[in-house]
């Protein structure tokens, strides 16, 4: 067992365990903060998949942006949200959750079945990529290549994203304005 494998199992264990905790926790704030841990360990997994730029973006945008946004929304919505949560029954396992658990478990079984049947490591294009040396090796520095590709091959989706961000900005500002003054 190499160090990389140990790190992979460690990080994926943290990611899945903290996601499970966030899913089962009754306390909203605790669930948000545990979600931080999930996102950080996912960034570590991206590094192990040799995508360091995506990992840094994940930390900057998700951890720095989205989670702070969620915390702000939680704080702005006042203490009534907490009261709603506290009213839920204190039992760990309740009958009402059973269909959702069943759905998720069956979906997981189906997905893993599909994954093992598909045998992703022996897909034709993956094997081609390995034989043509088109595979990213740990010593490669991909950031400059990503920048060049972003400005040449993927310029159209890049511009489309910029328009969409502008639309989302205007939409969010419009939605969260005060009523009546419009």
């Amino acid at each position: 067992m190499t160090l990389v494998r140990v790190l992979f199992y460690f990080l994926s264990f943290i990611a899945i365990a903290s996601a499970l905790y966030a899913a089962s926790s009754k306390n909203l704030v605790r669930s948000i903060f545990v979600f931080f841990v999930t996102l950080f360990s996912l960034a570590g997994l991206y590094v192990l998949a040799l995508a360091d730029f995506v990992a840094v973006t994940q930390v900057v945008i998700y951890v720095g942006g989205i989670l702070v946004l969620i915390l702000f929304a939680f704080m702005l919505s006042g203490k009534e949200t907490l009261n709603v949560l506290q009213k839920q029954e204190g039992k760990f396992f309740s009958m009402k959750k059973l269909p959702a658990i069943l759905l998720a478990a069956v979906f997981f079984i189906v997905l893993t079945n599909v994954l093992f049947k598909a045998d992703a490591d022996n897909l034709p294009w993956v094997r081609d990529a390995i034989s043509f040396k088109n595979e990213i090796s740990p010593k490669d520095i991909m950031i400059d290549n990503i920048g060049v590709n972003l400005m040449t091959r993927y310029l159209l989706p890049f511009e489309a994203i910029s328009i969409l961000l502008l639309v989302a900005l205007v939409g969010a500002a419009h939605l969260s304005r005060k009523e009546g003054k419009a």
């Binding site: 948000i32 709603v84 994954l115």
Partner: protein, 101 residues
């Protein structure tokens, strides 16, 4: 070395946890966290496959696009949640069952 299937299994587990959260939670913010988990599972898949594309970097670049789109989605969704809270004084999706008039 870590195989592709390992990443895909982790991503499948995260997807199912997100699915469970989205279906069962009674709080709009936690449902939003579930959706973020599902998005992250998809991004993990993109990144894992992107390792086998050194020239074009398609996997990594579309993972970046997905992260940016997730940020935009979250901003709009939180604005909607705040609006709903202002009108109904609750963010439990079960209680939100009236139209404007």
């Amino acid at each position: 070395m870590i195989t592709l299937t390992d990443f895909l299994v982790v991503s499948a587990a995260l997807f199912c946890i997100g699915l469970y959260m989205t279906v069962s939670k009674r709080n709009a913010i936690q449902i939003l966290i579930g959706i973020e988990l599902i998005l992250n599972a998809a991004i993990l898949n993109l990144v894992a496959y992107g390792k086998y594309d050194k020239v074009n970097n398609s996997g990594q670049i579309f993972a970046l696009f997905a992260i940016v789109l997730a940020a935009a989605t979250t901003a709009v969704a939180l604005a909607i949640i705040l609006n709903v809270y202002r009108r109904y004084k609750t963010i439990d999706p079960n209680d939100i069952n009236k139209l404007k008039d």
